[in-house]
Amino acid sequence: MDPLEQQLKQAMARIEPPADFAARVRAAGHRPSAWRSPALAAALMLLTVGGGLAWREHQGQIAKEQVMTAMRITARKLDRIQTHIKEVKP
């Protein structure tokens, strides 16, 4: 091994991690993940499904209002045409 390689071995010597490293790894291992907690997972599922249903209901309401408006406009137009026909008739 030449001098540069010896210097490299010294430069790349192992480094000790912080003193509390092992404790932190153990703590991270025991921390429940959000997806592993059944209660949280159920709550997130309900929120997602509930949110989806509410959104669909809201969209349905908007569509219904648009149809009603279109029908009102059509009825008014028909009334006007009918009145016009009556006026033209002798």
Binding site: D2, L4, A11, A13, R14, E16, P17, F21, V25
Partner: protein, 160 residues
């Protein structure tokens, strides 16, 4: 875990040159080992597995940091090395030069000089032909020599 924590942390530190990122990668490697314990056949297999996963995760983290550059909070030289012999200034320069190598030669150099592994062991960890490992070693050493000479550093330390 204690037996391997300096190996895992040092691999990540020498590959990433950032203590905080190295801690994160080392922690992930141990948690991944814990999840895969059923597949580990022996203590030697665990060491092989940890080296492989740590190098791979460090490379992934390095790529992530290239996409989203960050300013390391702590880019200081390591506080405690297992073997603190030699010229600390030269060691710092060498660590920085190795950290600046592309990921494949950097991984080869770290496994060779930190873990004292021979080319065949390195080739198994990195899934790379032995000839490629040897070629990375030769080219990286030549490049380091050239860069050190340009900085006025001879084979035995600083030249006047």
């Amino acid at each position: 875990m204690r037996a391997n924590q300096s190996m895992v942390f040092s691999l990540a530190y020498h590959l990433l040159h950032d203590r905080a990122a190295a801690e994160e990668v080392a922690q992930e490697a141990f948690l991944a080992l814990h999840r895969s314990l059923q597949r580990i056949e022996s203590p030697e297999h665990a060491v092989f597995w940890l080296r492989k996963v740590t190098v791979q995760r460090s490379i992934d983290e390095g790529r992530r940091r290239m996409r989203r550059p960050q300013v390391p909070l702590d880019d200081q030289p390591p506080l405690a090395t297992v073997d603190a012999k030699g010229d600390p200034l030269l060691s710092g320069i060498l660590r920085r030069l190795i950290a600046s190598l592309p990921e494949a030669p950097r991984s080869v150099m770290v496994l060779r000089y930190q873990e004292d592994l021979d080319p065949s062991e390195i080739s198994r960890i990195l899934d790379m032909p032995v000839s490629t490992v040897k070629s990375h070693l030769q080219r990286s050493l030549a490049l380091l020599r050239e860069k050190l000479e340009r900085r006025g550093v001879g084979e035995f330390g600083w030249t006047p």
